[in-house]
Amino acid sequence: MVDAEMTEHISALMDSELSELERARVLKALARDRDLRETWERYHIIRAALNEDLGPVSSTDLGARIAERIGQFPSPELKGGVHRWKPAMRWAGNLALAASVAAVAILSVQWFVSSEPSWTPQQVASARLRQADIQRRGLRWDTRQPEVARQLNMYLVEHNEFMPTSGMNGVMSYGRFVSYDNGP
């Protein structure tokens, strides 16, 4: 015999008018009780009939036949073992990921630009003068000049941790900065 209070809850459930707690309780009851599930079905038939949306109604219990067949299959598992995120959480996750990537990029650039740990102030000043010279004469350093070659070699040594063989992948390509040939 179907509990009247529970059927009223089923009526509210199909209208999405239950709290999460009530909904969980009613779904649990529905899972246990076939009579309640048939009541759930009939309420939906009523709604479909009112909306002239009722298809051919089977005189046999299609639901029972389907339940019997799916009983032969294993329970579904979430694909890849990855929990499906609710849309809001997925959005927050994507935002967090984007922020992390941006933070790494910014920090890497900052580190790259500011990290001249083993350069003395004189060396830095010298490099800046050299850079001004480069900007005046063009973008390429002329490695035929001993001073330029020495600066470039120091550069290579100071940043060799970015070499591909070191196993570290920096934001800036090592090769982009240090692979000058002798030029024309």
């Binding site: 059927t7 009223e8 009526s11 509210a12 459930l13 199909m14 209208d15 999405s16 008018e17 239950l18 999460e20 909904r23 779904l27 529905l30 899972a31 246990r32 599930r37 048939e38 009541t39 759930w40 079905e41 009939r42 309420y43 939906h44 038939i45 009523i46 709604r47 479909a48 009939a49 009112l50 909306n51 002239e52 949306d53 009722l54 298809g55 051919p56 109604v57 089977s58 005189s59 046999t60 219990d61 299609l62 639901g63 029972a64 036949r65 389907i66 339940a67 067949r69 799916i70 009983g71 299959f73 329970s75 579904p76 598992e77 979430l78 694909k79 499906r84 609710k86 849309p87």
Partner: protein
């Protein structure tokens, strides 16, 4: 908390291994699926067989359902494809007019798809529809108003309470009593 959230709650339970939750989805949508399939296939036995196949396919694929669309939109896609595949396997051409899934999505709240063909309903379906309408007409006006505002117009309990100028609890009770009255007439028709 909309209907979509109820479906999603059920899908979540199925994905956690609760097979009875899938039974609830079947019982909720089997008649709509049958109506949809009936636009491709007119034989009642074939409609039942294809509808059954639709739900089996849905169950086997439900682990991959991520909630990007409404559950029944996803289910309808399976139903359309299954019906078409069946026709092709029978070397029959599917109807030239296809079902536009964008329309399905758009009419989500209305729960009413436009008929492109009129399958011949079986006697039981006709009898059910007649019983429902007859019983509704005989209901007290408060109950009739409450259930039609909810099931046909799709208003929430809160909106119905404003329209009928009564508490939400009263709305809930009236809708339930209307359904109970109709169900009492309907149940003998569906005794299995």
């Amino acid at each position: 908390m909309g209907e979509r959230s109820v479906d999603q709650a059920l899908v979540d339970r199925v994905q956690r291994g609760e097979k009875p939750a899938f039974d609830l989805l079947v019982r909720k949508y089997q008649h709509k699926v049958a109506k949809l399939v009936g636009r491709y296939v007119y034989d009642r036995t074939e409609v039942e067989d294809i509808s059954q196949e639709v739900f089996i396919k849905a169950y086997r694929a439900i682990a991959g359902f991520r909630g990007d669309s409404a559950f029944y939109t996803w289910l309808y896609r399976i139903a359309v494809n299954t019906a078409k595949n069946y026709l092709e396997s029978q070397a029959r051409r599917p109807p030239s007019t296809d079902i536009n899934m964008e329309v399905v999505e758009m009419l989500e709240g209305a729960e009413n798809l436009r008929d492109m063909a009129t399958p011949e309903h079986n006697l039981l379906t006709v009898e059910i529809a007649h019983t429902v309408h007859r019983t509704i007409s005989a209901l007290p006006v408060d109950l009739r108003t409450a259930i039609t505002l909810r099931d046909i117009d799709g208003l929430s309990y809160e909106d119905i309470a404003q329209v009928m100028e009564c508490p939400i609890g009263t709305v809930r009770s009236r809708i339930f009593r209307a359904r109970e009255s109709i169900d009492k007439e309907l149940k003998p028709l569906l005794q299995k």
